[in-house]
Amino acid sequence: MMTQIETILAGKGIYFLTLLLLTLGLYGIIVSRNYMKKLICMNIMQVAVIFFFLCFAQKNSGTIPVAMKHIVHAVEYINPLPHGLMLTAIVVSLGTTGVGLALLTRIKEKYGSIEEKDIIEGEKQFR
């Protein structure tokens, strides 16, 4: 029994953790009342997906994907593509966070607060 759980945890446990992180982020976006917190939760969610990609790219007894003379078979290297993709995804999430923070600054200027109830109150003034 214990060994079964151990093998599942060793093989797939990390995916449960990333799923937990993803749902945590989603939950945070839904329930937080503060827009800054929503933005942070959005970032947590993006990180979860990055972890997901990095996890399935992992391989036992593989080395870094730099061609070496004595290692000739492709099997012995890690696939670099998911890591490359995630570099792009990190850049995109940086861009999104930047735009989000810029918008938050403007919201703070116009409405004087980034709490949801104050913003909803403030929205009634503008048509």
């Binding site: 993803l22 976006i29 969610m45 997901f52 399935f56 735009v99 918008l103 503008f126």
Partner: protein, 493 residues
């Protein structure tokens, strides 16, 4: 002209990068460069469509890397037509936006057109790309620029943009998860290669999981019924110059991407294909009713049009849910037609607000006397939304109904008719306001001469073009359907 697909993307990209710098030299230099580049893209995309019809699909490979390792642009008749639609709306709304940047400084004006060009670039790229991760990058370009353009619409626009940013990022994350699952199963990112790998393997449950993520991702981006929460306020409070482009084209491109995933990557061999189609059918039917009912209750024309978009996107995804070649062609015809209808109605609303500074339907009384072309566009667009021949709205609904009859899905025909009747309720209200209601004699914002004075020529060209496109697409619908069917025959049910 070997590099035709690359040029269509590169021209707006270069102009976008130049626009901000050039507007430092002269306020309007940047916007002229962007406009020229978009016109160039439009011309090239027409050339591309002609080539595709004559010589078959184009596969453009970037950097000479072998497929499936490199990135490719694959263009068949479907996306060639959609690229033309996007470029055309891009040119028209760029021209339209000339009138709404009077009181910004050089940085604001240049930046707005940078965003404009990047939005067109993102949508064109999403349409043409043959690589699933490339599609993600273009999706993010489209979304980020859309957030900026919505935020430029003023105090409420900023809040709408921020809410859209949260929801849109959830969508992008879900898309990335779906891609991750598919990549871990197939080990490839190229669309056609992925389709071949998925056919061989026996990974139905993983594919179903990925499909659920993809449907919710594209559903959020195209504002399909249960995911539409961000859309009405975003359309309402967006920058007036960019609103036709955002409302007219931005919702259609994720719908097109959903079609690619459903029919080109998954295909009818997928074990749960019927169930997936059923789910899409049910949510689009709900959306068609819900959007029309909500639109009836609105007084602001922007809100009316935004809620009607929820219903009209439902028509497009309904076509995907039916899945016969005729229904798919009808869905794409509706995509084209609706881009010009909704874009056109927002052009008309923008023209009225340029002149009188109002979006309230009750202020539209007898506006046909002073703005005959704009009133004409409101009428033609409204009739096309309801679906009255010879406008394009009738024919796209007709093909959808024909497709539904072929596959014996009579419930869909019933809902189609019901939704059209609901459309009639609120669009006849618009027509009534324009022609019958008492004139409020609002003061024009800009000084004008005697007699009939329309908005300036840069507003009139988009308005007249939209009227013509709605009528021409309707009259020559058989031609368009034939072009679409060249590529659709291979993939439909």
């Amino acid at each position: 002209m070997k590099n035709l697909p690359a040029y269509i993307v590169l021209l707006p990209l270069c102009s976008a990068l130049l626009s901000l710098a050039l507007s430092k030299i002269h306020k309007h230099l940047g916007r002229d460069v962007v406009f020229g580049a978009l016109v160039g893209s439009l011309v090239l995309s027409v050339v591309q469509l002609v080539r595709v019809i004559q010589n078959g699909p184009i596969h453009y490979i970037f950097g000479g890397y072998k497929i499936p390792y490199g990135i490719e642009f694959s263009v068949d008749t479907i996306n060639a037509v959609i690229v033309i639609m996007v470029c055309m709306l891009g040119v028209l709304s760029c021209m339209f936006a000339f009138n709404f940047d009077k009181n910004g400084d050089a940085l604001q004006v240049g930046g707005a057109y940078t965003m404009h060009a990047l939005l067109v670039l993102g949508m064109v790229g999403m349409t043409m790309t043959g690589d699933v991760f490339n599609l993600y990058v273009f999706l993010e370009i489209t979304s980020l620029t859309a957030y900026c353009l919505i935020a430029m619409g003023g105090s409420r626009g900023i809040v709408s943009a921020f809410r859209y940013l949260l929801v849109g990022t959830v969508a992008a994350t879900f898309y990335l998860l779906g891609v991750g699952i598919l990549y871990s199963v197939t080990g490839t990112l190229n669309m056609s290669d992925m389709a071949a790998c998925l056919k061989q393997g026996n990974n139905d449950s993983a594919m179903l999981m990925a499909m659920m993520f993809l449907i919710s991702a594209f559903g959020i981006k195209m504002a399909l019924f249960p995911f539409h929460g961000w859309q009405p306020s975003a359309y309402t409070h967006a920058h007036t110059g960019a609103r036709p482009l955002i409302a007219g084209a931005m919702g259609k491109i994720p719908a097109y991407a959903m079609f690619r995933y459903l029919y080109c990557i998954y295909g009818k061999d997928f074990k749960y294909f019927r169930y997936v189609l059923l789910i899409i059918g049910v949510i689009s039917v709900c959306g068609m009713i819900y959007g029309s009912v909500r639109a009836m209750a609105q007084k602001d024309i922007r809100k009316v049009l935004a809620y009607s978009s929820v219903a009209q996107i439902g028509y497009i995804s309904l076509g995907f849910a039916i899945g016969s070649p005729l229904a798919l062609a009808g869905a794409f015809l509706h995509m084209l037609g609706h881009a010009f209808m909704k874009g056109g109605l927002f052009f008309a609303a923008g023209a009225i607000s340029w002149k009188y500074g109002t979006f309230d339907l009750n202020d539209f009384g007898r506006i046909y006397k002073r703005m005959p072309f704009t009133a004409g566009l409101l009428t033609v667009g409204a009739l096309s939304m309801i679906g009255i021949p010879p406008t394009v709205g009738f024919f796209s609904k007709w093909y959808l109904a024909c497709g539904a009859a072929q596959t014996h899905e009579y419930v869909y025909i019933f809902v189609l008719v019901l939704s059209s009747l609901l459309n009639a309720v609120y669009f006849f209200k618009v027509i009534e306001k324009v022609f019958v209601q008492a004139d409020k004699n609002r003061k024009p914002l800009h000084p004008e001469g005697k007699g009939v004075t329309e908005a300036p020529i840069t507003i009139m060209i988009p308005v007249v073009t939209c009227i013509l496109m709605i009528l021409l697409l309707g009259v020559f619908n058989v031609k368009v359907i034939d072009i679409l069917l060249i590529s659709l025959k291979g993939v439909a049910l």
